[in-house]
Each structure stands twice: as C-alpha cells, then as structure tokens.
Point group: C2
Chain length 264, copies 2
C-alpha cells in the first residue's frame, strides 16, 4: 500500500489549533478534492455540513460529501466518481459496522483502494479510524477489564495490516478490550488513540503521533502466558509480559520492527 | 513486615459471593476483634454501620468501629486500645489524605504498625487501599492520559514498600496516571486493582488475586525512555518499553522477583 493514512482517536479539535484536521487538509490546500464519507453516522447531513464548514475554513475549496446510506449508494457511479477524483478521503465517526457493511466489496470501495494505492490520503476519526485495519474491533464491554466474552471483532477495510485500532482511548476500560484483542492474536499490534490525537501512517510501516493526547501501543509478541487458551468464556483474562509504549506528539513507531522512536 | 495485607480495589461485593470480605473476616471467625477504621470517609457513622452489619452477617462477633474524625482521636487511649486487641483491621474508602493526615505518626498508627508486625491482618478498600504503600497516589486527572502535571503523590502508611496502588482501576484513564507514577521512579511496581477485586499480600513479598475483576501490574524496570526527564510539565508523557501483566483470580505475583505466576 503506497498511501498515507491519518487515523484519529475521535473528538479532534475543530475550533482551536486544529492540528489534526489541518494535516488532513494539507494535500488538497493547493487544489484537488477532499471527499467526506459519512457512511458511519446516522446523521449524515448534519455531520457532512459540520466537516464541510471546518475544512472550508481551513482553506479547502473542492469538497464533496459522499452520502452513503444504503449499499446501493456505494455502487452509484456518481458516488464512485467523487472518490475517483479525490486526493484526500475522510471517514467520519459513527459505527464502524455501518462503514464495512455498506462499503465492503462495493465499486466505491474498490475505487477507494485504488486511490489509496495511487497515493491519496485516507483519514478517519473514531469509527472511521477503527474500521481501517484488516480486522477491526467492533465491541467489547469497556466497563469490564479484559473479559474474554466481551470482545467482538469483524473484517475491516483492509487499508492497514497487522494492527487493531481503538479510539477514544482515555475512556473507561478501553485498555482491557484492546489487550484482549491483541492476546487473541499477537500478530496484530494494538494501537489505542486518545481523543484529539492521531497517528499518521506512511507506507503501512511507520507512524508518527500528532495532536494533544497519547497513543498506547500494545506489543503482544512478548506475551509469555495468556489464559485465552483455557477456554473460560466468562472468565477474566490473564496476560503476562505485554510490552507497552505510550507515545505523544512527535514520537514515531516502526510497525515492522515494533520499535518506538522518540521525538527529535 | 510479618503481617498480611488485603488491598481492595473498591466496591467489593457486599451482598453476593462476598469473596473479598469473607477473606477479611476469616482471621476473626473463631474469635478475636475486627476493627473498622472509618477515618477516610466524611460519613463515618453510616459507613461504620454498613460494614458492621455485613461483617456480622459473615459471622464476626467482636467488631469495633474506630471513628477517627480529628487528629486527637488518633491519640485517644480508648481508640488505641481497640486496635491493640484487634486481629484484623479494616480501612474503609473515602479520601486517602484523610487517613494519613489524621493517623500519621499518631499513637494509634504506632499500634497499627505493631499489630501488623505481630501478624494481624490489615485490609483496606479504595482510599484505604491507596493509602497502604510508603508513597501513595493522591490525585491525577483521570480524564487525561499520562499528563506529567496531573500527578500527585504523598507519603502513605508505609505498610508495604516499593509499590504504588490505584483502585477502581477500570475507570476512565486510571492506567495513565499509574503509568505516570511508575515512570517517576520505576523502583515502585504499579498495582491497579479493579472494583470487587483484591490482592492478598503475604510478607510484603508475594500477592495473590481474589475477586471478580483484573489486577494490572506495571513493571517499569524495563523502561528504555521516558520524557519525564525533559521537564515539560504540561506535556503528555511518553514512556517506552513498559512491562505489563494482567492478573485475575488465583494468579500470583512475586514482588521481589517481579514475576507473575499463573493460577494452578
């Protein structure tokens, strides 16, 4: 994958420094279209209007809201055309299963993958962030720490491999469900992104942190024992020897080497 | 320290299986006094009555509520006497600074240390748990991930060395502040205890998990980089290479060796 991803933990600053949305707008400031895909949300008109106003304020002139409400919209040639011409594509928040159930394997999604391979920027916030990996986190009772039964995963958009992403990461109990997801298969690195914080991924290999919060990276390759193997679906998960990194703005992480690098 | 500690994450089950409170009651079921210290709470009568009723239900006959409201109460010979004769001493929740500011260096506290050395059980829930170590966590904005500025610590009761304890651990953002506390001095192991979950510490060296939730153990000895040294008080903390364990009922942890052991 040649493209660049911006994966946002939700509630990005929309009125102050706007560090993250400026980064999303950057490729289209000197021309080119920004497509806003509102598939995740139940209130696409409101959300579309809100982001259009913000990005206009940031200097973007060509903005298309791609309003996918049913699966047939994702096959509509006029919607596909809007993605074809976009240099940056932004997924709003909402429900990640709405994104994948409506876009999965559609003509619009095929065009999205093509644009990504051609170097367009794909960005997503909250559900739009969670949907990006090959396998996405869809549920998990965040009131309970690492209960084996509480975890739900589903096939995601496949824009980035070998990661699991959770957003709004400062919220109650989110670390438990991400740890559970990583323990299921330590081949995936868990990335928990705070609100108003994002990771900018280059070439599916390395990312850099921007925004005001922290990014938690859970590396399960060091796990020496996990009780998942004991098949106690209602049990609380035990996991020993997780490697954990907390990154903040400017820090980088090499996904291939699983190595953090401090800001310079 | 010869004594045994039961350190409880708060909201221990008071009506169902009552695993944790049964463990607190165990040493005094065949005789001997249970002293309930309500120093942490602003509503000592209510809390004292509640726990008295529960422990009576569990079969404890000799119960004394030690109602410390001011520092002079902790010097009152009748209060000290109640601790002198106790085989088990239980600290309720509330505010950990109320415990240490009223009990610190008092005749009652000296008696408590003596009882602990003589093998009495000392238990505490929520603030009563957080107050146990030599250095205790007193604040920290749990809405923010690992902000350097958000962390407050103070001298605790000194009943256990080289640990920092946080309770109600499934709550929003608690892991961030415990990570921050461990990064300040990785000589301390961070122990984050979920509600209705406890660690039973034997001889200041090894603990076992009981209850329905998880216990997070943060070992900072492996930390390769922490931005604490950069003196950015308002910054978000970066911490690389933390070793993290998630333990559940039956699992043990050797504090001296920093090694988890799975349930048998």
């Amino acid at each position: 994958m040649k493209g660049k991803l911006i994966i946002i933990g939700g509630h990005e600053d929309k009125a102050g420094a706007e560090v993250i949305l400026r980064e999303v707008a950057r490729p289209v400031l000197k021309g080119g279209r920004l497509a806003i895909i509102t598939a995740a949300t139940q209130v696409p008109e409101e959300v579309g209007r809100e982001y259009t106003a913000i990005f206009r304020e940031l200097g973007v002139r060509d903005i298309a809201v791609v309003d996918i409400r049913e699966r047939e919209d994702a096959a509509d040639p006029s919607c596909v055309e809007q993605i074809k011409d976009a240099k940056a594509i932004f997924f709003t928040g909402g429900d990640q299963l709405r994104i994948t159930s409506q876009l999965g394997d559609s003509p619009l999604f095929q065009m999205l993958q093509k644009r990504c391979a051609d170097g367009a920027l794909i960005a997503g916030t909250s559900a739009g962030a969670a949907a990006m990996p090959t396998t996405m986190l869809v549920s998990g009772n965040s009131d309970e720490s690492s209960r084996i039964s509480a975890l739900g995963m589903a096939p995601g958009l496949g824009l980035i491999d070998n990661v699991v992403i959770d957003s709004h990461f400062a919220e109650r109990g989110r670390i438990g469900r991400l740890l559970g997801a990583v323990a299921q298969n330590p081949a995936s690195v868990g990335i928990g992104i705070d609100e108003d914080t994002a990771v900018v991924v280059e070439k599916n290999r390395r990312f850099r942190v921007i925004g005001s919060g922290a990014v938690y990276v859970i590396d399960g390759s060091t796990i020496s024992y996990s009780s998942l193997s004991e098949k106690q679906p209602e049990g609380v998960l035990s996991i020993f020897d997780v490697r954990l990194h907390i990154l903040s703005a400017g820090d980088q992480f090499d996904l291939a080497e699983r190595q953090p690098m401090m800001r310079e």
